[in-house]
Amino acid sequence: MKLKSSYIVVAVLSVIAIAFPAFLGAYPLNVARSIMTYMALAISWDMLLRSGQISFGIAGLFGLGSYASALAVLRGGMDPMLSIVFAAAFAGLMAYALGFAILRLRSMYFSITTLALMEIFRIVMHNLHDFSGGPEGVVLPSVIFNGSSPALYWLCLAGLFLTIGVSWYFEKSKMHLALTAIRNDETSARSSGVNIFNYLLIAFVITSVLQGMMGAIQVQSYGFTTPDTAFDANFTLLPLAMALLGGIHSTIGPMAGAVLLGVASEWLKLKIPYGHLVVYGIIIILVILFMPQGLFGLARKARRERSKAGASHE
């Protein structure tokens, strides 16, 4: 019974999300798109985090995806829709190759290496003047779907749905058990027969595919990119803050965090043109200090305590 009602809620919410363009103008749709992009990145970051590996290189794979897609259209004459698939595959392939080296690293060494890789991608794009346009970046001949904002919205939504779906699958399948085991205790996970490296590689490649795909969708819907926008540190920072606020190790947590922070930052951007991101920094600090499990962690704990209290009454 409970399961069914939650399915109905999900169905209703997705119908509402799909129907948004019917009653929203171009500006709210644009805001919604940026929130959805960040949401997808937050979820994908969290998916890797479930194995205990914290990546600071979201922007790197995101930017790699944008460049792969833009250059495939510009230099290879690829169809824009196809180029999104190509970019996702390219990001995945890169992650697969890199994963062999960097997934052997742990804790802060992994994080710092992902951050450094992102910078390397950015500098390479900065310097390959003839191929990637250098610091000026690339401009596409036309925006996908001729810039029709409902269509762009649905494209982004499709990317988000795919991300949510994969993350949900991660939560429900064997992956969840394997990744949690790796996070909790690698030695005991290995001795119970979990192939740690394989699972990490799968998680890393899949999250990179998703991040690359979102990058490609972003570049196709804006029609241009530069090294500094594609590899903007905000694409690392905002998803991280969103996931932390909402609650890590879940799909719903990053989603809630993205909605809260995304709407708040749009509002703050209008109020404080410079430095509105200070709110993000403070949220990260406060969440880490006072509720490391995020909003949903708090809710879960409260519910558990209530049910415990109820049980003792009976």
Partner: protein, 307 residues
Amino acid sequence: MANKRNAAIFAALTVAAVAGILVWRPTVIIYGLQAAGLYASIAIPMGLILGIVHIVNLAHGEFMMVAAYLTYMVCTALGIDPFVAMLPVALVTALVGFIVYKLTIRQALKAPELNQLILTFGLAISLTQLANLLFTSQTRKMSFGYVSASVSVGELSFGVYNFVFVVIAVLMVIGLRLFLTRTTAGKAALAVGQNPRGAAIVGIDVDKTYGLVFALATGMVGMMGAIFITRSSIFPAVGSPFTMKSFCLIAMAGIGNIPGILGASVLLGISENFLKAFRETRGWADIVFFVLIITVILGRSIKGKKA
């Protein structure tokens, strides 16, 4: 034995390479050393925190940025030289560092490493964005005559002011060595760094030592901020590359090996300036550091596997 021979071959190769470059492009060595001085003097305080408090402080460069802005304000308001403002600024930054330690980092000492990393990341963002909020992203610069002092040797003419960073870096290493081996507080800090629980058992106040070390390190980086503004323009994001570079240098030297940071900085400074010496490769100079950090980290992990 083989190890010794390898080390000797390596040293000989390095000397040969340096001598070769010195004859061919002397400025590479000169500017490389100057850059190395700057890198090292910013990395050493971070190495101190990492070696004793065992926290990767991702807000390290941001403390320098804050100190640089502080110096800018003080110096423009009072019309004094940054070198005069250096000590007061260092004291204020140390105080800020101490408060930040008490309010945030102390609470996360027992938390998993992930939380500490994200916490200092959040600190870094807050500081950068606070500077953005107060000063906007416009760059600020102070100019002084003595910065452009130069020396000519034969046909070669180069700026000498930046050697001040080399002097500071060497002084820092010597000063820290003396502090850690000669003073009671320093010995306590060293003991806490080696084994916090053991130190607590023999009666050292671990928390106080951590606070002291954190304040000392932020004070040092605050002093660097005051000197930094004499040679570079500042903007809110000016500190963040130094956080990364400092971490890379520490990882290269090995955590806890403060003199090793000097050597690592020289390697980084010279190889960066080597690429900057040619027009075609100038844009690639920034990549050296990132390639170096990945090579070092991967190299260490592979070596660790074998051992």
